[in-house]
Amino acid sequence: MTRTEIYDKVLEIVHDCVPETQEQELKESSVINTDTAIDSMGFTLIICRLEAVFDIKIPDRQWQKLYTVGDVVTAIEKRLK
């Protein structure tokens, strides 16, 4: 899967889990809680859905380190390799 494909899937899941983000322009550089409408519970939901969709596991400890949408894409990309 290419980075762009992962990014597109991430956006689809973000929009689905937190509908308030559908009207926001999300870029790889978007800071998760500052530039988006995602709170910590919404983020938990997103990560759980991403893990299921990509069949990966991101340790809870790593969740805390994800800062931008791009960080999320990178974390998935690493685990798919």
């Binding site: 800071v31 998760i32 809680n33 500052t34 709170d39 910590s40 519970m41 919404g42 983020f43 938990t44 939901l45 990560i47 759980c48 893990e51 340790p59 809870d60 400890r61 969740w63 805390q64 380190k65 800062y67």
Partner: protein, 458 residues
């Protein structure tokens, strides 16, 4: 005078001994896909592990709380073994752990397998005279947060106080979703259920928040407001759930109303780590009018601050910080820093905060002087203040919109270090000076009103 149905246990060992004798085969803990331990089986597991810990000769165990059965067993076993316990957030940044280990005299760690770093070099010689003590950190994740020294007896007394107002029965199943390193999670998610002889179902972690209610079919659950909002959004409240206890954060009225609309009883709790958790609970129709727990006496000072007295649940003090202890606890009276009033029926209404602290709906607390000092390290020479905006931290900085990119860049390294719930949600640039008193102190409430009104207009 309250006549609680259950004993006020002096220790975790006494609790286990009594329940294992009275209802040996009743389920004490459910966990994982299908795990279950009766009170007797749990007691035996704990005793066996306590023997091993005693043989190890360590005196202070730091537990990185993951909420698993093994974690609960370890906590009880260390208590039985006479060790001091320090309950830690399993997701703490590793670089913050050495300071907490030093501060609380930890000489052994449980749960460190999940860490990348080897913390052995940081372990101390252990705490002298720590038996019976259980330490919790007030704000979880900063190395300057205070370690509150509680005891097994104070925690059991707190559970007893909660059970006196909201009793559970052995037929009940309490779902424990909150982290055990928070005193609200430990007392209201675990000890409250065990003290009443109920079964406690141990939640399987954040990934399963919504599924756990279906999986364990609880009759009662303790939550923070943000988690409740999430569960409601996910339509996760199960049939058979009869009681939701909300605590540890400001709660918008829509949440208890939505729970009630589903025919479920809802109670709101007010408490502090310094008092081993709950001080008052709402029992009637109004979730914000709270009955004071039987062991507590609450007075309102002239300036509206709530003053609390209690012999059984009060902290011993802040660990190795007599000055901080003396600042809030004198002659057995705790100055809470919270504002409130008592109505004509003696019910407590909490109305605000005097101390410089923000508490968010997920239970996160920000001690503003400390938080702003960290911001100062990346924004030196700038005029700013942190306020609460839409239930999240916001930075108000004197400056112009053209500076936004530079400010964001300056903040990024610090924000990356912080967990999501403690990061700034908004940065507001305002060219006008921040409102200050004659002595130069920021008038935060004026700033808050100004920003909120501007935000509402837009």
């Amino acid at each position: 005078m309250f006549q609680a149905k259950y004993p006020k246990y002096p220790s975790f060992a006494a609790l286990l001994e009594d329940l294992a004798a009275r209802q040996p085969e009743a389920p004490a803990l459910r966990f994982g896909a299908a795990g279950c331990k009766s009170y007797l089986a749990f007691q035996k597991d704990v005793q066996a592990r306590a023997e091993a810990l005693k043989a190890g000769g360590k005196r202070c165990l730091g537990v990185l709380c993951d909420g698993s059965y093994a974690c609960v067993r370890e906590i009880f076993a260390a208590a039985l073994a006479g060790m001091q316990l320090v309950l830690l957030d399993e997701n703490l940044p590793e670089e913050e752990l050495p300071a907490l280990i030093r501060k609380t005299d930890i000489d052994a760690l449980w749960g460190e397998d999940a860490l990348d770093a080897d913390l052995t070099p940081w372990l101390t010689r252990g705490a002298a005279d720590g038996a019976g003590r259980v330490l919790f950190f007030t704000s979880g994740t900063t190395d300057s947060s205070k370690a509150v020294v509680l005891t097994q007896a104070s925690l059991c007394a707190s559970a007893w106080n909660g059970g006196a107002l909201l009793p559970l029965s052995p037929e009940d199943r309490l779902l424990c979703l909150l982290p055990l390193n928070h005193v609200f999670g430990f007392v209201c998610g675990l000890l409250w259920g065990l003290s009443c002889g109920a079964c406690v179902a141990l939640g399987r972690g954040a990934r399963y928040y919504a599924e756990d209610l279906k999986h364990f079919s609880p009759t009662a659950v303790a939550v923070v407001p943000m988690l409740l909002g999430f569960l409601l959004k996910q339509e996760a409240l199960n049939q058979g759930l009869r009681l939701v206890l909300i605590g540890a954060g400001d709660c918008p009225p829509a949440l208890p109303a939505a729970v009630k609309a589903r025919g479920i009883r809802v109670s709101f709790g007010y408490g502090l780590t310094e008092c081993s958790s709950g001080v008052a609970l709402s029992l009637g129709e109004d979730p914000y009018a709270m009955q004071i727990c039987p062991d507590f006496r609450v007075r309102v000072a002239e300036d509206g601050e709530l003053l609390i007295e209690n012999e059984s649940c009060m902290m011993q003090g802040y660990c190795k910080d007599p000055a901080a202890t003396a600042a809030v606890l004198r002659d057995g009276v705790l100055r809470t820093g919270d504002l409130g009033r008592l109505d004509e029926k003696g019910l407590l209404h909490v109305t605000g905060r005097k101390k410089e602290i923000l508490v968010f709906p997920d239970g996160t607390k920000l001690f503003l002087p400390e938080y702003e000092a960290r911001l100062r390290s990346v924004l030196p020479e700038r005029d700013f203040a942190v306020i609460e905006l839409k239930a999240a931290p916001a930075l108000v900085l004197r400056g112009r919109e053209t500076e936004r990119e530079a400010v964001t860049r300056a903040l990024e390294p610090l924000m990356r270090e912080l967990p999501l719930s403690r990061r700034l949600k908004r940065v507001i640039l305002d060219p006008s000076p921040l409102p200050r008193t004659a002595t130069g102190k920021i008038q935060r409430w004026i700033l808050q009103q100004k920003v909120v009104s501007q935000y509402d207009k837009n």
